[in-house]
């Protein structure tokens, strides 16, 4: 087995490399030779001091630049964001079509964010409606039974009424026979 293939450098690493390269080349451009060339008059007077000044200059410049980069990285949580973005890009690697991008019109873009809530609301309402309908069906049945019961009671009462009325009639007839003239 050969050596494992080099992993694709993450964004953090590319960024670090790019900054290092920049510094390297900047330092190379600002070489001691170049410095002496410009400050020839001073160099002639103080060669050792010139070297010392240059060394400090170069180291201070690099330190300041590196510090600034680190500060911005910390402020913006760049390391974290770079690594997140690497992951997100990796997950989308099998996808070829261009992805959705904001249209710039908030009313259009917000539709899709609202849809999941509306769908949930809809299924909730459907369930509530079904339950209510079922409940009402049962109550309606009770109401019908109640109506039947009332009709039944009314019939029973009417039957008793009629029976007693008939008795009363017989009673009347009986009394009439006592009063019948000869």
């Amino acid at each position: 087995d050969g050596p494992a293939p080099a992993a694709v450098p993450g964004r953090a690493q590319v960024f670090a490399t790019v900054v290092d390269t920049f510094l390297e080349k900047l330092v190379a451009a600002g070489s001691y030779q170049r410095f002496v060339n410009c400050y020839r008059c001073f160099y002639k007077l103080q060669p050792q001091l010139t070297r010392s000044i240059y060394d400090q200059f170069i180291s201070q410049l690099q330190a300041s630049i590196k510090e600034e980069v680190q500060e911005v990285k910390n402020e913006g949580n760049l390391e974290g964001l770079f690594s997140s973005l690497d992951k997100i890009v990796e997950e989308a690697k099998d996808r070829e079509e261009p992805a959705w991008r904001p249209s710039g019109i908030p009313e259009e873009d917000i539709r899709s964010t609202m849809v999941p809530y509306l769908l949930k609301h809809r299924s909730h309402l459907c369930r509530v409606l079904r339950e209510k309908e079922e409940e009402n069906r049962k109550v309606a049945e009770s109401v019908l039974m109640g109506r039947n019961r009332i009709a039944e009671l009314q019939q029973l009462i009417q039957a008793r009424q009629q029976a007693w009325q008939a008795i009363s009639k017989e009673q009347q007839e009986l009394i009439m026979t006592f009063q019948e003239p000869q």
């Binding site: 960024f15 959705w100 904001p102 409606l129 109401v143």
Partner: protein
């Protein structure tokens, strides 16, 4: 040349990548100037301490300017390259990449009409629920009324039952029969009475004749 606003990247990073690079550039430039001033300052101070120095401060100034111009040129060139790489490779979101926070956009790509239809459907469902609530109220109100009416009717029925119980207790359970019997008896009695009256009348008539 159109400038890519990198809006999607801004959404992700919380800042515009170009702004970030500009911040770096301005800072690097400032540090270069600062440190060159320090360099010049040190040299001038040293020259001050040398009696009869032939090098004037304006000469030093010219040297500084020369070196600075050179450094700035390289700074600009090198920075431009760095910026290009960062904007293209580091702080960019490839076209095929969708940020997780935007997943709903591809999950539920509803058009204006589809969205409106969904909202209309919700409104209709809400109306139906309200209607069912009204129906429920009416049904329950009738149920309550029925309870009261049923109780009254049952009370009346109980009265009838009570009457019948009293009659049964006193041995007169079937009035119809009793009255029919009574009527028969009364008719018989009346017939007998009639008979007796007639016979008595006949006897009186016979007595008168004798």
């Amino acid at each position: 040349m159109s400038v890519d606003p990198m809006a999607y990247e801004t959404q992700f990073f919380g800042f515009t990548p170009q702004t970030c690079m500009l911040r770096f550039y301005i800072a690097f430039q400032d540090y270069l100037f600062e440190v060159m001033l320090v360099v010049e300052g040190v040299m001038l101070k040293k020259l001050d301490s040398i009696p009869g120095c032939k090098v004037s401060p304006s000469q030093i100034r010219k040297c500084t300017e020369k070196f600075l111009v050179f450094m700035k040129e390289h700074l600009d060139k090198l920075f431009a390259k760095m910026e290009e790489v960062v904007l293209q490779l580091v702080m960019n979101i490839p076209k095929n990449v969708l940020l997780p926070e935007d997943r709903v956009q591809e999950q539920y790509p509803y058009s204006k009409e589809e969205f409106q239809a969904l909202q209309d459907e919700l409104q209709q469902l809400q109306q139906q629920c309200r209607a069912e609530a009204v129906v429920e109220q009416a049904l329950r109100a009738e149920l309550e009324e029925q309870k009261v009416v049923t109780a009254e009717l049952e009370k009346i029925l109980q009265c009838f039952d009570g009457l019948e119980n009293i009659c049964r207790e006193h041995g007169a359970s079937n009035f119809k029969e009793s009255f029919a019997l009574l009527m028969q008896s009364s008719k018989k009695l009346q017939d007998v009475l009639k008979d007796v009256e007639e016979k008595s009348k006949k006897m009186k008539q016979r007595d008168q004749l004798m």
